[in-house]
Structure formats: structure tokens, C-alpha cells
Point group: C2
Chain length 324, copies 2
């Protein structure tokens, strides 16, 4: 049996899974990234997490056919380089070649969101679609594009940055430095910024304690609880963000004409279908009827596993020399 | 020698050209569309314009290998249907099959902007690019996408509507009924609306006569003359529109990662390179450096011929059964 090792590298954690010949996860491992350490130490954590998953699968490292990893970018998937990353210290780090060396197997790297979208396309919510668009809504807003049945990288090798389309020209400052990006209007960081501003203006909310004096964004689940308890400020903030997500998706449907739109990430996991319905409604008013009438908007099916599964399957794909 | 007939159907005129085996235009014809007439009469004008181009080429109709036409959409390129058109009366009009019947040759239809972009890709400014994006700036704002070397239609069959991305949420009303689309911020109609509003507020401009009491948009050349004469209002209006075009293109570069961006349409024809430079500057600030650093932004090379040439080449393409 030919196994795959799939890795998902994030700013806070590294996850690993071994997939069997039927693409089923047979073991897992996880560690904290501790991204503030130097490259080499973060890399050693990735490797040891991968080895742990292999051990737990009860197989030999030699039975792994290929290694795949999803990483924050931008990166050069062909050269296996992480060019830079705002969450990690990596700068032109040869993550692919280094993993290939450690595991003595071909290693494939791709953007973390792309890997997740590829997982959803091969085994999750976008199965069978020729053209699909994934939007992952959390602290930031990430995107992945399936075009004519393949993962689309574009000439920049880093296409799919849908969080950085301008939807509100001259709007609030984005983490990327520009103004009015979708991410600056609707991400969890943007919502936290808006909530903070409202608090300073004297508005009340049940989640004030999660906002005041903290630097991180309000957790999705806290937002969901406040929303369900009809906390006025939370409802207004989330609904407004959802409206912007709808604008962004409607715009992208006009440009890309996808068959399926996959929605995932912390916010969608926490809120579920009702939030998708809200977004769907706005997107349908935003896009042309001829462009959106046959579009299916669905929840990501693989949750946190999407990245590991997608990375592993991208690795298998590139073994076959197939275009992706 | 195998000839092609290429047609370009617009709201105001129908253009036809015969291309020889080397894709050179050897004859042309043109007529007014008079789009207010019924479908059948508009169709007869298309046919007679095509026949005139064939006559002028000094060839027999039987020497035409295939017929291609670019038409305003949305349409169904596979079935050859014009689903509807805001400029023409067509509604589910079988333009492809009807042309095939008249000329007794295979006929291909595509969106007018797509046809133009295909022309630029095969013989113009986007030659050799794997991924390219065309923006055509006139009364409206149209777009065409080349993805992995083929014309991209998406699952909606009508992808590429880049004029209807929202860049200013809750902004001014667009011709499409939504608010804040790129077209509502930057098209010639949008600029005319802004100029009218400024006049009503008592601002002065040298082109006041072209605006007051008229229903059509200010011609691009009039805008250019006023701009060059440093007419304050004209300069402000055009610069603002160019800024929005830059925002839209920067956003699309982040999403699509093209290699080449082709700029065409009346505004670009009138203003030339200086306006492209202005747009380019904004787009480069809007997009991520890793996404835009290798992007070339160029003026469309085929001008008004792009649509006819592209339509003819799409027709030849589909003869070969090749994917487009």
C-alpha cells in the first residue's frame, strides 16, 4: 500500500496526517508552531510532527510515497520555496527540497488555502465541479480557485488572493497596507476593530471583555454566542461583514463564473448554514442572474483536515506528473 | 486558400472583415445596426454586411471556411444563442445557427469583448501570454480572460464581467441596477454622470455643451481635448475614473495573477499611453508586489479590428475541434 504524508503549516499549529491508498486519514499528529523561533527550529517541528504521524500509523517511513505541505505564502510551488510569510519567519525558505531531503521522498508545497481548496475539490464540497471558488473566512480571508478542473496558480504562481480585492475604495486600512480590501471590511480582525471602535464610542456588548485590552481577534465562537443571544452590536457587526463577503463573492461570480462556491474557515464553522444563507442572499443580488443562477454555495466539508488532505493529494498528483 | 469571415456586432454598428489564410484582413464592410428594429431586420443587416465584405474580397462565398461573430451578451456560445442584450432587441436569438444557415458554413459566436480579447491574444498585445486579462474602457467596462492559453468562459459561459465587480460598496447606482460596480465608478457613462452633477453644482468646464441636455455620454476625444487643455473638471473626473480602473485591475491581479494586462476601448484609444501609465501606477500600489512585479500592462494593438479578427479566429479554432 502506498501512503502519503500531508502537512498543514499555520501560524499557530502544525498538523500532520498519514493517508492510505484510499485517501483515508489513518493517523494524525499536531504541534505548536511557535512561529517566533528561527526557521530551522520551526522546520524541525514540522519534520518531527510528520514523523510522529508516520509512527502512529504503524508504518515505516519508507512506505510513504510522497509528502505534501500547505504553507502560508507567497511561495513558489515549482521551486518549493516559501518566499515570505507574515505569520512565520520564513524568507526564501526551501521548504519543499528540505522536506524531500528529510523524508527521502518527493515533496510538494502549495499555499495553505490552495491545499485546502484542492482537498475540498478532490474529496469534499467541490467534488465534480469544473470551476470552483473557495472562500475561507477567519482572522483573514483566503481564497482558492479551481479552473477547468485544475488548481489555478496564474502566472504570479500565487493567484487567488480574494481577500485583497478592493470592495470599498478608500475604506479602512487593511493588514496588507492598502485600503478597503475585502479582508479590511469583513475578516475577524476587521470585525474586532469595528467592535473596539464601537466600545470606545460607548456602545455596549456582552463580549466587551474579549475585546478590551486584547490584541488578538474575537474568537468566532464568542461572536456566534453573542449573535445567537441577539447582542445588538455583535449582530450588526457580523451581518455587515457577511454583506461584504456577499459583495465580494457576487463580484467574483461575475468575473469567474464558477459552478460551486465553497465557504469555510472559522466563522463558517462556528455559524454554519445560517451565515451561508445570509451571504448567498447578498451574492445573488450582486451577481448577474445569468452568472449566478446555477451556482451552488456550500459549506466546506473537510473542516480542519482540508489542508492536510489537499497537500497530500497534491503530492500524489505531482508524482503522476499530471498538470495541476 | 481558406478564408474566414469575422463579424463584430455592436449597438451602433456592424463590422465585417474577410481574413485570408494568413489571418490578414483583405476586405471590410460596415453598416449601422439600427438596433431599435426587430431581430430579423438586424440579422439581415449582419448578413448583408458579411456578404458585402466577401464581395469586396473578390472571392466566392463558397471559399469562406467559417464564420465568427462577436456579439453583446450574455450568450450561450455552445448553442450559438444570444440570450439577451441591453443594446439589441435579441432575446434567445439563435445567431450562430442562423449565420451557419445563411453562409452554409460553421458559425461561432462569442461575447464581443471575448472576441476582441482573443484577437489580442492570437495576433495583438497579449501574444504568447499564458494568462492575460483584457479591460476595455468605453461607455461601459468590459473584460476578457485568457487562462492557461485558452479563452475562459467559466461554468456560467459568461465569465469576465469585470465591469461589475463592486469596488465601492453602496456607491452610485450602476446601469446594471447594483451599486458601486467598477462600471458605475469609471465608465464613460459614469464620468458623464459626474460631470453633469458638477455642472448642476455650478462648476465650470469647457465641455459643458457636450453634457447639458444630452442623453449620450461625452465622447472620449472630447474628454481628451479638455484634459489636455487642463480643464480642471475634466482632469479631476478622468483622473478619478483612472484611479478606480487601477483599483479594479490591482484587485484582479491579486485574484488572477495574469502575465499581461491589455487595455483597450475608446478611452484608451483617445488618451493613449499616458492614461495607461496612470492606471498602471495605481494598480501597482493596489496589488501585492509578488503578484504584479512581472505583469506587463499594454495598450490593445488591434483597435477596432480586434473583435472581427478574434471572432474569425475563434471560428477557425472551433473548426479544428480545439478547446478554446
Amino acid at each position: 500500500m502506498k501512503y502519503l504524508l500531508g502537512l498543514d503549516l499555520g501560524g499557530t499549529k502544525v498538523s500532520a496526517a498519514v493517508l492510505d491508498g484510499e485517501n483515508k486519514i489513518i493517523s494524525r499528529a499536531r504541534a505548536k508552531t511557535r512561529a517566533w523561533r528561527d526557521d530551522e527550529k520551526v522546520f524541525q517541528t514540522i519534520v518531527s510532527t510528520g514523523r510522529r504521524a508516520i509512527e502512529r500509523a504503524g508504518i515505516e517511513a519508507a512506505q510513504i510515497e510522497a509528502v505534501g505541505i500547505g504553507s502560508p505564502g507567497p511561495l513558489d510551488p515549482r521551486a518549493g520555496l516559501v518566499i515570505e510569510s507574515s505569520n512565520l519567519g520564513f524568507r526564501n525558505f526551501p521548504l519543499g527540497p528540505r522536506l524531500a531531503e528529510e523524508f527521502r521522498r518527493p515533496a510538494t508545497i502549495d499555499n495553505d488555502v490552495n491545499a485546502g481548496m484542492w482537498g475540498e475539490f478532490k474529496m469534499g464540497a467541490a467534488r465534480g465541479a469544473s470551476n470552483a471558488l473557495g472562500l475561507f473566512w477567519g482572522t483573514g480571508i483566503g481564497g482558492g480557485l479551481i479552473v477547468n478542473g485544475t488548481l489555478y496558480h496564474g502566472s504570479s504562481k500565487n493567484a487567488g488572493e480574494i481577500g485583497h480585492m478592493i470592495v470599498q475604495a478608500d475604506g479602512p486600512r487593511c493588514g496588507c497596507g492598502r485600503r478597503g480590501c475585502l479582508e479590511a471590511m469583513a475578516s475577524r480582525s476587521a470585525m474586532t476593530r469595528d467592535l473596539r471602535k464601537a466600545l470606545r464610542r460607548g456602545k455596549k456588548t456582552s463580549i466587551a471583555k474579549l475585546i478590551e485590552g486584547k490584541s488578538e481577534s474575537v474568537p468566532s465562537n464568542a461572536l456566534r454566542r453573542a449573535y445567537q443571544a441577539k447582542d445588538e452590536l455583535a449582530v450588526k457587526t457580523v451581518d455587515r461583514a457577511a454583506r461584504y463577503i456577499g459583495y465580494g463573492l457576487g463580484s467574483l461570480v461575475n468575473v469567474l463564473g464558477p459552478q460551486v462556491v465553497v465557504l469555510g474557515g472559522g466563522m463558517i464553522e462556528a455559524f454554519g448554514q445560517s451565515l451561508i444563507d445570509r451571504i448567498d442572499k447578498v451574492a445573488r443580488k450582486t451577481a448577474f442572474e445569468f452568472a449566478i443562477k446555477d451556482v451552488v454555495m456550500v459549506k466546506a466539508a473537510l473542516g480542519d483536515d482540508a489542508g492536510m488532505i489537499g497537500a497530500a493529494l497534491l503530492a500524489r498528483e505531482s508524482l503522476g506528473g499530471r498538470k495541476r
